[in-house]
Subunit: 722 residues, 2 copies
């Protein structure tokens, strides 16, 4: 069996696992008529959202496909469409299951905590396995077709072009889904509260509020569909660009095919370990839900070690690569006459070096999970300090929350820095790429943990609205509480992987520059030294993007919430039967309005990372020539990650900490629910909402889009490449 077929089989197993588990979940009882009625409203809303979102994204996608067709040709267009469609499928199916698992989880929680946990987690695992499985099938399928039936050599530039376009399709959908979903969920949340609780005086989760269903739909839209598209993108970009980098850096290696296939089989092996892990999620004696989820995660991580060792041995045997220093360290850019000291270590690597790089990736995953848990879990200093600060008011709550936000960036940065140095010492930039690959290989399991969140969140809402007994509500609350942490974990994981991937992408950019030098009319190497002021200019402009993007995201939530308020007011006015409880509000209309608002609001910020690299290149080129244009563009790619890493981590960890500080107070600390401390904590939670669910997580696809657009721009300037 070839390596690529093995990867394809594993991808297929993941999809089959998804179908099989879907059937299991759907077989469970959907509860009584009232519960089903509420769930139907959420499903109806979700369908309305998906219809409108895909219609809009479809238009953008078609425009982009036409542009790609005329600049880069047929192969890139097909790759782009494939990436876009599969990303959409992963999000669609995940959400389809999620809005059906919510009511079944509430029903299962009637009997036992384990029952609710199993249903909610299995539903998450479906999304997780589809993300990893479809991602792997897409990359491995393209690679198999082009090296097999189409007959290209593994290092052929058309394979590079197709994989890059595949990544672009996934990224473009992802930024729309992440940002649109993020705006949707928070606009619905804030809008429902403002008009329902404040104006109409009806309680939270009251079915008479037309926006309350939009709020529940939002959980699925943001944390399930948006997150699935995001992680699908991250998976495809990381594995795909690792293969691209290998092809670009070692075009003449005898082991090229095996090296390029290694990320695919590693991805396949980790799908098997992830599936095994999903069966280990069970409550122990202490009934610790987080403990149960971690059992699954650690099983996957530990079982992955021998599997990765095995597939590396299988793929590479006793591979020993030994190349000239400058090819790795300096690309085409500087005419270094002697090999630098560190370069020496980077030149030669064996298969086992790559294995150890992948162990570094697993280590980073584990550490990022642990650090996020520390910063957002209710039993550690950060969350407790925010809860304590709430006792003295709204202002001190927010100050402490912001302090924790800022602080939470330190440990992940140190972990990433150490990982980069270690992987680089082992195998140069290829080593960093493999560390990123193994990090992402666990995506199936990580997404499962995350997609569990919206299901339990909805289950709690349904239990409340349907008036289920208190003990059921206690169980769904307990399930929901850990969801905040698992959601934060995934975001930290995604942005951490982006930092590693950005290095790999920058490497691909510089190697591409070298490859296309003649076609681009470059008569001299591009100067990427920090001494070049255009490099500083690029770094600053790149660093600005996450700030501007964050500002757009935060204000978009406010504006979109305004549209929700107007619609709900109109429904109450035009149909008095709603408040009387005699007629059902038009949930779909509110959902459609918030969908339109969310999609309209996200267009400008989504275009920012697509158009900025193009604008910077042409402006700087106009002033100082193409060499400086490429220097500024390259520096911009790194500027966006240098600042984006911090913006994203601070927002997602800070938001998670604020949310759980509120929960910690609701558990009876500092006066509990209704106290002044609780009110202050609610303010912090509101602030954290667009931080952690809108602006912060969308930084990850934004970073990737910027990088991939730069790669496509190079290819287009060079006259098309596929």
């Amino acid at each position: 069996m070839t390596l690529v077929s093995a990867a394809l089989i594993c991808g297929a197993i993941a999809v089959i696992y998804g179908l099989f588990t879907s059937a299991q979940v759907l077989r469970a009882s959907p509860g009584d008529a009232k519960m089903q009625d509420i769930a139907a409203a959420i499903q109806e809303g979700a369908k309305a959202y998906l219809g409108r979102q895909y219609a809009t994204i479809g238009i953008v996608g078609v425009v982009m496909a036409v542009i790609l067709f005329f600049t880069l040709g047929q192969l890139s267009t097909v790759g782009f469409v494939l990436g876009a469609v599969l990303s959409g499928v992963a999000g669609y199916v995940g959400m389809h299951i999620s809005v059906r698992a919510n009511v079944r989880t509430a029903e299962a929680a009637r009997t036992s905590l384990q029952g609710g946990l199993t249903l909610a987690f299995r539903s998450g695992a479906i999304t997780g396995m589809l993300v990893a499985g479809l991602g792997l099938l897409a990359i491995a399928g393209v690679f198999w077709y082009l090296t097999g039936p189409a007959g290209y050599a593994p290092g052929d530039h058309r394979i590079v072009a197709a994989l890059t376009a595949l990544a672009f399709g996934a990224s473009l959908i992802s930024i729309f889904a992440r940002l649109g979903g993020g705006i949707f969920t928070k606009a619905a949340d804030v809008g429902a509260d403002l008009v329902g609780k404040v104006e109409a005086g009806i309680p939270e989760d009251d079915p008479r509020n037309p926006a309350v269903i939009a709020d529940n739909v939002g959980d699925n839209v943001g944390d399930c569909a948006g997150m699935a598209a995001d992680l699908f993108e991250t998976y495809v970009v990381t594995l795909g660009l690792t293969m691209v980098s290998i092809a670009l850096l070692l075009p003449n290696s005898d082991h090229l095919a095996a090296l390029m296939a290694l990320p695919l089989v590693v991805g396949g092996a980790c799908i098997l370990s992830s599936i095994l892990g999903t069966y280990m999620v069970r409550l122990g004696r202490g009934e610790s839900i987080m403990g149960a989820l971690y059992k699954g995660f650690w099983t996957t991580a530990i079982v992955s070690v021998p599997l990765i060792w095995g597939v590396t041995k299988w793929a590479l045997g006793d591979l020993n690569v030994n190349l000239n220093a400058s090819a790795f360290l300096d690309g085409a850019n500087t005419a270094v006459t002697e090999a630098p000291a560190a370069g020496t270590a980077a030149l030669a690597f064996t298969g086992m070096d790559l294995f150890w790089c992948m162990m570094i990736g697993l280590g980073v995953t584990g550490l990022l999970v642990w650090i996020t848990e520390y910063y957002t879990g209710t039993n550690h200093r950060p969350v407790k300090s925010i809860a304590k600060a709430s006792a003295t008011g709204h202002g001190t709550n927010v100050i402490q929350g912001l302090a924790i936000s800022l602080e939470s960036t330190a440990l992940p940065t140190l972990v990433i820095v150490v990982a980069v140095v270690a992987a680089y010492q082992l195998a140069g930039i290829i080593g960093v790429a493999f560390a990123a690959t193994s990090l992402l290989a666990l995506a199936g399991m990580v997404v499962a943990l995350d997609a569990y969140g919206p299901v339990t969140d909805n289950a709690g809402g349904i239990a409340e609205m349907a008036g289920l007994p208190d003990d059921v509500r206690h169980r769904t609350d307990a399930l929901d509480a850990v969801g905040n942490t698992t959601k934060a974990v995934t975001k930290g994981y995604a942005i951490g992987s982006a930092a590693l991937a950005a290095l790999v992408l920058f490497g691909a950019y510089t190697t591409d520059l070298e490859r296309y030098a003649d076609a681009l009319g470059l008569t001299e190497p591009v100067n990427f030294s920090l001494n070049n002021p255009y490099v500083i200019v690029g770094l600053l402009l790149g660093a600005l993007l996450p700030y501007l993007f964050g500002a757009f995201g935060m204000t978009a939530v406010g504006r979109a919430a305004g549209h929700v308020v107007e619609d709900v007011r109109a429904q109450f006015r035009d149909n008095p039967g709603i408040m009387a409880g005699t007629s059902r509000p038009d949930y779909a209309r509110t959902v459609d309005i918030v969908t339109r608002a969310a999609i309209r609001e996200m267009i400008v910020p989504s275009l920012l990372p697509v158009l900025s690299p193009v604008a910077v290149f042409f402006l700087v080129s106009g002033v100082s020539g193409r060499e400086q244009g490429f220097a500024a563009l390259g520096a911009m790619l790194l500027g966006v990650i240098v600042s984006g890493l911090f913006v994203a981590i601070s927002m997602t960890s800070g938001g998670g900490a604020w949310d759980n500080a509120k929960k910690y107070i609701e558990d009876g600390n500092y006066g509990g629910k209704g106290s002044e401390a609780h009110k202050a904590a609610v303010t912090g939670d509101t602030v954290g909402d667009p931080y952690k669910d809108t602006a912060g997580p969308a930084v990850n696809p934004m970073i990737k889009i910027t990088n991939i657009v730069a790669l496509l721009l190079l290819a287009a300037l060079a006259g098309g490449a596929g």
Copy 2:
């Protein structure tokens, strides 16, 4: 008359202006007995603070001086001590006047708005002129002594060492004064509110609250003494390092002495235009206070144009420098065989090119003032949008404030980027240095606008506490309102200059590396290309510093406020006469306690930028050799500015906008004082306080410290240089 003597005379004129105006201010009536009593308490507190602060900083300074003496020798030690002492003097004298002008401003406001404005602004101008005058005297004096009596050549490495050490002395005091002052003022503010308003139920600014004087002292400590030390540092570092860069880049130029003296005479000329500007601050018919202040500022800016043209002509005549490309563009680091396209423009420059670079600097100053006014003034969209968001609650106020924070970084970044490109096109890195020099040359006027703030703030407090008539209080309120904007302007100006200065400092670092290559044992050039992973590592670690520093600053305010609360509680308990109004609280004790707390809290964050460069260099060197150590260290210097620029601007502009959104509501919008919107705006203001007065402004000296420590480390590793 020589250029340097002219600069020395201008510096002396500034100091004489300060003394003369001090006498004028002190001659004004200090009001009635009650007002004098309150003012005496503030003066007493200020003295207590200064005593304790200088005792602590003295210890650090002596330790540092001893280290410098044994690593870098006598000359550097003397330079360090001079910079440190003069920075202290500028802060001390400014604060000395400020705490006496406050009560006189309140008294003058009894008669007219113009009277209060004149007194408050003159007091600010004293600080401004001392900052610029002492700064210029220090740099010009050192340069005069070493090139005159000591007989060194202008480009002698001992002059470079002395100027660098002078800058280090100023920077070290500055970070202590900025951060300590920032923690002090906000800890006193928050502490006084918590225990006074919340626990004891006494109104704000009640003289029975022992912390209320500390609160008023804090305004002076943070916005007068801290800011003066900060701008003194910025002035000395920018002018001094411009001279150092010229010496390093053009060591063999015939025009070296004239080029090095040019920043000094430009500084001198702008002192004259600043003095002229201070006499133009008068109310027009519309009684617009901001308009009156701007009249002074624009007079200074416009008069500076012909003055700078004149001194440039005088110093350089028809200078025409023409040098080999690689000396400018690439330093020692890459062996470029052909001159890059952009490099060509950078090689040759005339005296008039430098004049245009300085015009760019003036343009940047004007634009930064205008942008800050837009983001923090009450009559523009940003502040109004925060006020509007306050109507829907605490959470939406903070969300909109954070969105404005993030957004406010965009225009300053674009201005800086365009300025860097334009100045670089005109005269390479020397052009950027001269743009930074002319930007800083206006420091006298800018500091005057800023130091006006705490005087009017205190005047309002004194008017309230002394029970002056309502119309007086209205006048002091009007004077105070524009203070928020002018304070924000100075912070934006300082961080903007830091961005330009950082480029110059990085240039000095790379040139120094080349100069010391043999002594450092570097056998090959350091690779600063973005392709080198250690450069990425350095960028990420540098980018982390402002985040970690911000986190420390924010939490320090919370902890120090706790100490204030404890002390006030103890005073109330031990001396019941205080609440009865029969005995005076021990203001000095509270001030001393908050001083101790503030200074203790600031030690770790202040050491962060001092120790991090050293730690990064030795760690990376240990792993991968000295070349990579220097590469990571250099990248760290740029990482800290790439992220620090955004952190600082977002914090200072965002904080100013929050503050004025509260004032806008207090002016009667959205329900006015006491409304729900006002409560939400108070929350935003509290959040903005440590943002804009503690963490944000301290980023500027932090960036400089990191850079200078790197330069000193190089010199020390090379075996001392002076």
